[in-house]
């Protein structure tokens, strides 16, 4: 394309990095928050601030609750007409659907337990398809009391899906956008290494006192290079998680015959019935099955707790119960499944150790999805993610700084637009996050649709931040700093402190209590992180003010022009 390899890689890195950088910023930031998504849930839903519990009795606590779960109204309205053949009979009532699958899920970090039902649809258009409509509930495992459905789990149900789907759910388009952004991330890492000639010489180099363009480039290179394995592996494993279902669904389309042929053979080999028999049967004691599963894991020298439990073909003679071990002491996900015949409790199968390829795949996906219990590793993940955010943000700053003088001379608005978008994506995104937390504490606990109001606060404040960024961006057209950066930093500091104060006021769980007297680290870490963010934002605001003052002063001697070394960057 361009004269040589390095120049073509530079072009790719600059332009694809710029455009997809806005998406990647969101993915990296909310991915970092998602490491502690359940702790954020605790902060947002105060009645769940108790200790994590192992999975309670299925027979006495979970089963009664599961029997009360109804299909989700929105999903029913959307899916029933799509799945059901109405030429045979009219659409059934939502409450009349029969349960086909039960599942329950718990983690070592979650005080609450999630469980749900897959309801089978009558008269399906395509009998070989999955044909389930779902319902779920979150309960307090100590008592079985359900959590109200409109209490939004800000961490695990908002920040986390935002990270992998941008909440763009029409035909999962958000997942595809994030997937493409991940591919571009990998391309940006490789092209970045190609461009960066002084890879080892500048390994530890950061010169904050130089002019903005040099400092920004130093920081961009530093945060990119030092966390290169992290950035590469997270983009790669993120793609690996979704590749089979979304990005390269070869096995579900072109090679479906080969896939189905294998599934039938596997069902025969494992003894786990693929289809229901159509003959009703009862459910034996699942607690006894769980006990047996635990005994078997201990016998294989891997004693553990139940992470995931599934009952397939509910109420049918072919029904079986699968008990999976929580993978909190290993990187690979839940595993070592033990399967029982549901009507008798007889052992059907104990999953054998995985194949080599299977182990590699489980390791890679487990590395990303983090079910393990290792607090230092989690905090290191947050550090890596934030380094990624700094890499992207400093990339934006470098892009603007490099071009704003020539754009100012030419009267072009390019730098101004990119700078305003950068403010929106960096400080604006933080403002949206903090506004949501503040709204969470300000709105009454029993407000109907509280979760919807919180989401409105998030998106609304982000839009306002964007408007502010654009309105204040005029100085960039004269090659000066956009004051919106500094102003939004102050807003961040104020919102973060407000969130901590409101938490103390509305729940009584202030820092002195959560750190010293009735220690509860989930909430304490959240409050401490918020205060640290406020401190960093204030520091940044003051430095920005100092730079703005320098700009309006007569040209000082130390602001050197960009050196020859920067000329190669497009």
């Amino acid at each position: 394309m361009l004269q040589n390899f390095r120049l073509s890689m530079t072009w790719l890195h600059t332009w694809f990095g710029l455009v997809l950088g806005f998406v990647l910023m969101v993915v990296f930031f909310f991915g970092s928050l998602s490491v502690f998504d359940r702790e954020i849930d605790r902060w947002a839903i105060p009645q769940t601030r108790f200790e994590p519990q192992p999975m309670p009795s299925f027979d006495t606590l979970l089963l009664p609750g599961l029997r009360q779960v109804q299909p989700d109204p929105d999903e029913f309205a959307r899916e029933a007409p799509r799945l059901i053949d109405t030429t045979q009979a009219p659409l059934p009532a939502r409450e009349s659907l029969e349960a086909d699958e039960y599942w329950a899920y718990t983690t070592h970090r979650d005080p609450v337990l999630r469980m749900g039902v897959g309801f089978k649809v009558p008269n399906p258009k395509d009998p070989s398809a999955h044909n389930h409509i779902h319902g779920e509930v979150t309960i307090d495992p100590r008592s079985g009391t359900p959590l109200r459905a409109d209490q939004l789990k800000i961490g695990s149900e908002f920040f986390y899906p935002l990270h992998y789907s941008l909440h763009l759910n029409w035909n999962s388009i958000g997942i595809y956008i994030v997937g493409f952004a991940a591919l571009v991330m990998l391309a940006a890492l490789v092209s970045g290494v190609v461009m960066h000639r002084k890879f080892f010489r500048e390994f530890f180099t950061f010169r904050p006192k130089k002019h903005t363009q040099r400092s920004a480039l130093d920081l961009h290179n530093l945060t990119g290079v030092l966390a290169l394995p992290f950035h590469f592996f997270f983009a790669f494993t993120g793609l690996a998680i979704f590749v089979s279902f979304y990005f390269l669904p070869v096995a579900h389309t072109q090679l479906k015959p080969l896939h189905d042929h294998h599934e039938v053979m596997e069902a025969a080999a494992t003894g786990l019935p693929h289809e229901a028999a159509g003959v009703p049967a009862g459910l034996a004691s699942v607690d006894a099955m769980v006990q047996e599963a635990k005994r078997r894991w201990a016998a294989r020298d891997m004693a553990g707790e139940v992470g995931f439990l599934v009952v397939s073909h509910v109420g049918d003679a072919n029904s079986y119960v699968s008990v999976y071990r929580a993978g909190s002491d290993q990187v690979a996900l839940v595993g070592q499944g033990v399967h029982f015949k549901a009507s008798t409790g007889e052992l059907l199968r104990e999953d054998p150790p995985r194949s080599a390829v299977g182990s590699v795949n489980e390791f890679l996906t487990g590395l990303h999805l983090q079910h393990f219990e290792h607090w230092l590793l989690r905090w290191l993940y947050v550090l890596g993610g934030l380094m990624g955010c700094v890499c992207i943000a400093s990339g934006f700053v470098f892009f603007v700084e490099k071009r704003k003088k020539q754009h100012a001379r030419a009267g072009s608005a390019g730098s101004r637009v990119v700078d305003a978008l950068a403010v929106t994506t960096v400080t604006g995104m933080l403002i949206a996050t903090l506004s949501m937390l503040v709204a969470n504490r300000l709105l009454p606990a029993d407000l109907a649709g509280k979760g919807d109001w919180e989401q409105l606060a998030f998106w609304g404040s982000w839009l306002l931040a964007m408007a502010h960024a654009f309105v204040r961006s005029a100085p960039v057209a004269q090659a000066r700093l956009n004051p919106a950066w500094r102003e939004q930093c102050w807003a961040i500091a104020a919102l973060a402190v407000a969130a901590v104060l409101l938490n103390g006021l509305t729940t009584g769980d202030h820092l002195l209590k959560t750190v010293f007297t009735e220690t509860y680290w989930a909430v304490a870490s959240m409050d401490l992180s918020l205060l640290l963010s406020a401190a960093v934002a204030s520091f940044a605001a003051r430095r920005l003010r100092a730079r703005e003052r320098l700009e309006t002063a007569p040209a000082p001697a130390h602001r050197a022009a960009p050196g020859a070394g920067d000329a190669a960057h497009a």
Binding site: R201, F203, F204, T205, F206, R207, P208, L222, T223, L226, A227, P229, F230, D329, Q330, V331, A332, F363, L367, F372, H374, L376, L377, L380, Y381, L383, G384, M387
Partner: protein, 106 residues
């Protein structure tokens, strides 16, 4: 508790190792010690060797603390964290690295 102590030790050794590797580079040696002190080749080799050994020891400590697959992840990320802390120390307080001489010997 044992795991926490091993991991803290791994992090400390890793940071020390990264500091030695940084000091083995001319630019950073002079940042920490001033323009007057030269960096003789023997000193450079000693710093590099010490740095490499330190990284290896850090990996060993991680492996003692955890299951191999987790230890590998922890160590790779500790490399990033400690390199970053050395880089920022060099940017803002480079003379703090002067104290490390006592350990390698001058």
């Amino acid at each position: 508790m044992r795991e926490a102590l091993l991991l803290m030790a791994a992090w400390a050794v890793c940071t020390l190792a990264m500091a030695w590797l940084a000091l083995a580079m001319d630019a950073h040696w002079h940042q920490a010690l001033g323009r007057a002190h030269p960096l003789p080749p023997a000193r450079r080799r000693a710093l590099r060797t010490a740095g490499a050994l330190g990284l290896a020891v850090s990996l060993g400590l991680c492996l003692l603390a955890d299951h191999a697959s987790m230890a590998a992840l922890v160590w790779v990320l500790l490399l990033s964290a400690s390199a970053a802390s050395v880089a920022f120390t060099l940017s803002w307080r480079p003379h703090w690295l002067r104290a490390l001489f006592g350990v390698v010997g001058y």
